[in-house]
C-alpha cells in the first residue's frame, strides 16, 4: 500500500472546520461511502494517526475530500498543511454503509461534523429518493448545505436555536419525516446522544438503520483491539472494533452507553 499522497487543496468551511482535497488515485478508486482514512497529521505532539471519513470521492480526478474539524493537536497541524505537501495516509479502511438496490427511499441523518460521511453515501447510493436531515447547533456551524442539496431530493436543516432552518434537534426532524413518508433505510452519523435517539426512533418505526461510530484508534486496521465498542451478540454483548467491524454498524446491534 502506498502511504504517501498529496494535498490538493484546503478550503475553510467555517471558523474551525475545513475541507481538504487529497490526490490519490488508489484511495479514490477503492474508497466506499462510510469508509475512513487514517492520517498522519504531523506536528510535534501528534504521534498517532487520526481517522477521518471519506466525505467525497472524485474517481475521475483521482482525488477525495475529507472534512475536518479542528479539535486538538493533530487536526491543528493538519490545518496548517499547504497545497502540494506530501501527506501520509492509510486507507480506505473499515466497513462502510450498505448500498442496497432494494432500498428505494433512504434518509441520512447528520449532526454537526457527522454530516461528512453522509455526502458520499448520497452520491453513491442507488436509491430513487434521498432525504437528507442535517442538524447543527447554530447558523455559523451549518456546513456543506449546497453540496448536500445537490445530492438529494429533499434537504432539511435544523439548528438548535432556529437561527437557520427549522428550530430544534435533527432527531425531531427525523420523527416528523418518518411519520410523513415511507423510508427503507436510515443512515445516521453525529454525536452519541443524537445517534442513540435516532436509532430508537427508527426502531420504533421498524425501519432498519446504520450508524457510523467514533472511537480512539491505534493501528486502524484491527490488530491492536483498542477501538472497542459494545455490540449485541447472541442475546449478550461483546466488544466489536470500530476500525475493522465498523465504523458503520447496524443501528440495532450497537449498545450506546
Amino acid at each position: 500500500m502506498n502511504l504517501i499522497h498529496r494535498v490538493g487543496s484546503i478550503k475553510p468551511l467555517n471558523e474551525d472546520t475545513f475541507l481538504m482535497t487529497i490526490e490519490s488515485a488508489e484511495i479514490a478508486a477503492a474508497g466506499l461511502p462510510g469508509q475512513f482514512v487514517n492520517v498522519r497529521c504531523g506536528g510535534p505532539d501528534a504521534y498517532l494517526r487520526r481517522p477521518f471519513s471519506l466525505c467525497r470521492v472524485h474517481r475521475d480526478q483521482g482525488t477525495f475530500d475529507i472534512g475536518v474539524q479542528i479539535r486538538g493537536r493533530g487536526t491543528q497541524a493538519l490545518s496548517l498543511m499547504r497545497e502540494g505537501d506530501p501527506i501520509d495516509i492509510m486507507g480506505p479502511l473499515g466497513r462502510g454503509f450498505s448500498l442496497k438496490s432494494e432500498d428505494k427511499r433512504i434518509a441520512v441523518v447528520g449532526g454537526g461534523i457527522g454530516v461528512f460521511p453522509l455526502l458520499q453515501l448520497l452520491r453513491e447510493h442507488p436509491a430513487a429518493e434521498k432525504l437528507a436531515l442535517l442538524g447543527f447547533r447554530i447558523r455559523d456551524q451549518v456546513i456543506m448545505e449546497k453540496d448536500f442539496r445537490d445530492e438529494c431530493h429533499e434537504l432539511c436543516i435544523s439548528t438548535d436555536d432556529g437561527s437557520w432552518g427549522v428550530a430544534g434537534f435533527v432527531t425531531s426532524l427525523l420523527e416528523k419525516k418518518l411519520a410523513e413518508k415511507k423510508i427503507d433505510r436510515v443512515f445516521i452519523c453525529g454525536p452519541v446522544p443524537m445517534m442513540k435517539r435516532a436509532v430508537e426512533t427508527c426502531k420504533g418505526k421498524n425501519i432498519p438503520c446504520e450508524v457510523s461510530l467514533e472511537e480512539r484508534m491505534g493501528c486502524g486496521i484491527g490488530a491492536c483491539l483498542v477501538c472497542a465498542c459494545k455490540v449485541k451478540l447472541d442475546g449478550c454483548w461483546d466488544y466489536a472494533h470500530v476500525c475493522k467491524d465498523g465504523p458503520v454498524f447496524s443501528g440495532e446491534s450497537v449498545i450506546f452507553e
Binding site: 504521534y47 480512539r216 491505534g218 493501528c219 490488530a223 491492536c224 477501538c227 472497542a228 466488544y239
Partner: protein, 306 residues
C-alpha cells in the same frame, strides 16, 4: 546482493530466526491484518496477541490515549482464548516462514500450567509468558514484580513446557535484573523486556481519566531510554538471551538494543504509526550494518563500548 554479505540470523534459546525483528505481542493481532501490507515471512517472528485460557472481553473503552512520543493502552487482554487461537489462527500463520511465539497469561499458577501444557502440544515455536501485564488486576502483576512470584510460576511451568520458554518482564519494578535472574534460575530459556510502564492520562476539561480503565500501559518512543537501560542491565546479569523492546522505531534504534545486549528485538507501537515499521526496521538494520562494516548480527550483540 546485500543478503550475501550480511548475516541477519539470530539464535534464541534453540530458536533460529531469519532476522532479529519480532512483532511485539498485542500490537500485531494474529498477523492477518498486517499480511495485507507485507509478506509476513519477512519477519524473524511474530508474538501473537496475549492469550488466556478462556476468551476475554477486555477493558471498557477508551482503551488508548496519546501521550508525548508514546501511547497508553488498556486493552486488558481481549482475546478469543488459547483454543480458538490454535484452531483458527495457527493454520493461517503457518503459511508464512516466520517463528510463531505464543504469548500466554493466566490468573493463577495453575492457569499458567494449563496454558503451557496446551501450547506445548500446539504448533508454535516458542511460548512467551506474560507475567507483567499491567491491565489485569488479578494475579499477573503480582507474579512478574517479585522474585518469589516469578520463581513460582516459571519453575512450575518449566516442568511442563516442551517449547523454548521466554519470560516477559515488567519494567514496573525496583530491580529488573534481580527478577531476570530469578526467571533464569527457574528455568527460562530467554527473557523479553520491557512490557509497558504503568501510566495514566487525565482530561483536564472533563476532569476524568482518558482511559476507561483509569490507568494503562505506556509504550512507544517515550519509553526507549528506560527500555534500553533495562536491557543493558539485564543482559549483564543473565546468561540466557535477552529480547529487547520498548519504543523501537528504526533500524538504528534496533542496533542500539543489540549493542546494549539484546539478541533480538520486538517492535510494537511504532507499527501503529507506520504499518511497514517492522520490515523497514529489518532493512534499516541491514543498512546500518553495511555502513558500519558489520557482517553479522552476532557481532553487534552486547558490543557497546563503555
Amino acid at each position: 546482493m546485500m543478503e550475501n554479505r550480511i548475516d541477519l540470523t539470530v539464535n534464541i534459546a534453540g530458536l533460529s530466526l531469519k532476522n532479529p525483528v519480532i512483532a511485539a505481542s498485542g500490537t500485531f493481532g494474529f498477523g492477518r491484518e498486517y499480511s495485507a501490507f507485507f509478506n509476513l515471512s519477512r519477519l524473524g517472528g511474530i508474538a501473537v496477541k496475549g492469550l488466556t485460557l478462556k476468551p476475554r472481553k477486555g477493558n471498557p473503552p477508551p482503551r488508548i490515549a496519546e501521550t508525548p512520543a508514546g501511547i497508553l493502552n488498556s486493552v486488558g487482554l481481549q482475546n478469543p482464548g488459547v483454543h480458538a487461537f490454535i484452531r483458527d489462527e495457527i493454520p493461517f500463520l503457518r503459511r508464512y516462514e516466520t517463528a510463531i511465539i505464543a504469548n500466554a497469561s493466566g490468573n493463577t499458577v495453575e492457569e499458567y500450567e494449563e496454558m503451557v501444557s496446551i501450547l506445548s502440544e500446539a504448533d508454535v515455536d516458542a511460548v512467551e509468558l506474560n507475567l507483567s501485564c499491567p491491565n489485569v488486576k488479578e494475579g499477573c502483576l503480582v507474579f512478574g514484580s517479585s522474585v518469589s512470584g516469578i520463581t513460582q510460576v516459571v519453575s512450575r511451568v518449566r516442568k511442563l513446557c516442551k517449547k523454548p520458554l521466554i519470560v516477559k518482564l515488567t519494567p514496573n519494578v525496583t530491580d529488573i535484573s534481580e527478577i531476570a535472574c530469578a526467571a533464569e534460575a527457574a528455568g527460562a530459556d530467554a527473557v523479553s523486556l520491557i512490557n509497558t510502564l504503568l501510566g495514566m492520562a487525565i482530561d483536564a476539561k472533563t476532569r476524568r481519566p482518558v482511559l476507561g480503565n483509569v490507568t494503562g500501559g505506556l509504550s512507544g518512543p517515550a519509553v526507549k531510554p528506560i527500555a534500553l537501560r533495562m536491557v543493558y542491565e539485564v543482559s549483564k546479569a543473565v546468561k540466557i538471551p535477552v529480547i529487547g523492546m520498548g519504543g523501537i522505531t528504526t533500524g538504528t534504534d534496533m542496533a542500539e538494543f543489540l549493542l546494549a545486549g539484546a539478541s533480538a528485538v520486538m517492535i510494537g507501537t511504532a507499527g501503529f504509526v507506520n504499518p511497514y515499521a517492522w520490515v523497514e526496521a529489518v532493512d534499516g538494520l541491514e543498512r546500518y550494518m553495511l555502513e558500519s562494516g558489520v557482517k553479522s548480527v552476532s557481532e553487534l550483540i552486547g558490543g557497546l563500548m563503555v
